[in-house]
């Protein structure tokens, strides 16, 4: 077990290096620089700024320096937020995105899993058709359509929730539902497919032959196997929730990491872009590892393989 975790952590290092290199050179070879847009800046100040951030040195030296700092865990200063370190900015913005992500995932699982199970158990009845049609609609209704719609209905028309901002729990409702419903739809479909597959298995028939009740058959025998695809999906889902939240963040004006990233990209804030990309990548790797561990906990065969 320890060996497995250790090997995965070691594997992550080259991956992160590839990503750092790719992003570094992609940003540097792109036309335009961080201090180009603001024409107001006199030439001498621009030169001064560039030398302050080391932008006047040879590109490869900059790259090596960046990697060296990275090894020490230093993501460097932001170009656009004077006086702020990139890590400080991430530390401020990420908790917001994390809250949003966890809430959305909770909603997705709480709605998706029961809906999927019911649909599988009542296959080809309206208890199957209704949630499955809704979930198909959920998948086809992108967040940037659903978000404005929810604002229009629950905020503008009914006045139940605030339309924008991120100040208290009341602000959390609409964004988390907007994001969560899409994933709930996916989870429901995965659960249904997984349950149908498992319910066909021979060992479920064995359980019935033993005299187990439908409830026992589902909870004790079918659920574990049926939820494995959902567990596998959790990694990409959570990564998607966290890194894909910038749409929601821009619709609801939430000061999350996604919004910071997009702004940084537009502003050519190199260090911020690099830092965010690396942070996201590390997060995805970590989440995939957690999902693998969760899978092993559910599946004795996978446990042995590790």
């Amino acid at each position: 077990m320890k060996k497995f975790v250790l090997s995965r952590v070691l594997q992550a290092i080259p991956t992160l290096w590839v990503i750092a290199t790719l992003t570094f050179f992609m940003t540097r070879f792109a036309p335009g620089g961080p201090f180009d847009a603001e024409k107001a800046i006199p030439q001498e100040i621009k030169v001064k700024l560039e030398s302050h951030f080391g932008l006047d040195r040879p590109l490869f030296d900059q790259y090596l320096l960046y990697l060296k700092n990275l090894l020490r865990g230093d993501l460097g200063p932001s170009f656009k937020y004077p006086g702020w370190e990139v890590s400080e900015l991430i530390a401020t913005a990420f908790p917001v995105s994390l809250t949003l992500g966890v809430l959305s995932l909770g909603i997705a699982l709480l709605i998706g899993i029961p809906a999927g199970i019911i649909a599988a158990l009542r296959k080809n009845t309206w208890l199957d058709y209704l949630p499955m049609s809704l979930s198909m609609a959920g998948i086809c209704l992108p967040t940037f359509v659903l978000g404005p719609l929810l604002i229009y209905i629950f905020s503008t028309q009914l006045g139940l929730f605030p339309p924008l901002g991120w100040y208290g729990p009341a602000d959390w409702v609409l964004p988390s539902f907007t994001l969560g419903l899409f994933y709930a739809a996916y989870v429901a479909r995965l659960t249904r497919a997984g349950m149908l597959e498992t319910l066909q298995q021979d060992y479920v028939r064995t359980a019935r032959a033993k005299g187990a009740s439908p409830w026992q058959v589902v909870t004790k025998h079918a659920l574990r196997g049926g939820l494995l695809p959902v567990v596998t999906y959790l990694g990409p889902a959570f990564a998607g929730l966290i890194s894909g939240s910038f749409i929601i963040e821009s619709i609801f004006f939430i000061p999350g990491l996604g919004k910071f990233f997009v702004t940084a990209a537009f502003n050519r804030d190199y260090t911020m872009v690099l830092g965010t990309v690396l942070f996201y990548a590390a997060l995805i790797i970590l989440l995939n590892l957690l999902v693998d561990l969760l899978q092993a906990w559910l599946d004795p065969k996978a446990r042995q393989a590790q």
Partner: protein, 286 residues
């Protein structure tokens, strides 16, 4: 059993698909949307970028059946024109991902051994990239370029396609008819293209059908961030963004592009599901 009854797997699949009501409805909706998008801009009396500042924010009516936007442009012309762009991006990017993914997956799966292990390790590494973010970065840095757009999206979507193709190839490679082909002395090329590829087409078509909506969604996300096509050109994503901003004043600006977009996704997803059932008789039991 009569000789006339003889039918290929393709024909059987088509018959099964025809029996699937949702899939057939989806197919008709999809064909309708494609047709309207193709001929819409041509039959509309207004060009998609033709402004008329006297008639801004006009609701759906006789002259403008979908209404007009803040610059008095005809929404019907803009929606159908946007449809061309969105559908084209969807299809082309899917094609790009198809070509890359299928060749990569087939080669990796058929070769096997160490080559396969390394090729798949590379895919794993790429999977750890926050891709949406990369595409955004690309679009921001290199400017909004139509060609770059679908190349970037296609390059993102090929990973899953490669995995699916590889898994199927590995399965089929072990199957006895491929071994029989080897025993009969067929060349690798013949085995790959005449025996493997035709048997891979089912899952590939299914996944491609499901990739198109995913790609269209990504394009819409980019447009929503202002990274898609540039005004006055339109795509469904960019129209939805405008509509969402002006929803209080002119809800039809969100409604029509949103409806077209969601209907297309709906139809494509249902069609993909239907195709999966039709092409894999085993799964049709569900």
């Amino acid at each position: 059993m009569s000789v006339e009854k003889s039918s290929s797997l393709g024909k059987d699949a088509w018959l099964r698909l025809r029996a699937n009501r949702m899939a057939m409805i989806s197919l008709f909706i999809l064909m309708g949307i494609i047709l309207v998008s193709l001929i819409g801009p041509a039959i509309s009396p207004y060009a998609y970028d033709q402004q008329n500042l006297d008639r801004v924010f006009e609701g759906p009516g006789k002259d403008h059946i979908f209404g007009t936007d803040n610059l008095g442009r005809d929404l019907f012309a803009r929606t159908t024109y946007g449809g061309r762009i969105s559908l084209a991006v969807g299809l082309l990017a899917t094609l790009v991902s198809l070509v890359i993914g299928v060749s990569y997956g087939m080669f990796s799966g058929y070769t096997g051994g160490r080559v396969d292990a390394w090729m798949m390790r590379a895919v794993d590494v790429l999977y750890a990239l926050p891709f949406t973010i990369f595409v955004i970065l690309l679009m921001v840095i290199f400017g909004r370029n139509f060609l770059l757009l679908f190349l970037a999206i296609g390059a993102v979507e090929w990973l899953t396609m490669a995995r699916i193709t590889r898994a199927q190839t590995m399965n089929l490679k072990r199957s006895e008819f491929i071994e029989a082909a080897r025993a009969l002395g067929y060349s690798h090329g013949r085995i790959l293209f005449r025996h493997l590829l035709p048997n891979l087409i089912g899952p590939i078509i299914v996944y491609a059908t499901l990739t198109v909506p995913a790609v269209m969604l990504l394009e819409a996300v980019l447009s929503f961030l202002g990274l898609g096509v540039q005004a006055p050109m339109s795509s469904w994503g960019s129209l939805i963004k405008e509509g969402a901003e002006k929803m209080d004043a002119a809800p039809w600006l969100l409604f029509f592009p949103g409806m077209f977009f969601c209907l297309s996704l709906f139809a494509l997803n249902f069609l993909g599901d239907g195709l999966r059932d039709a092409l894999d008789p085993k799964s049709s039991k569900d």
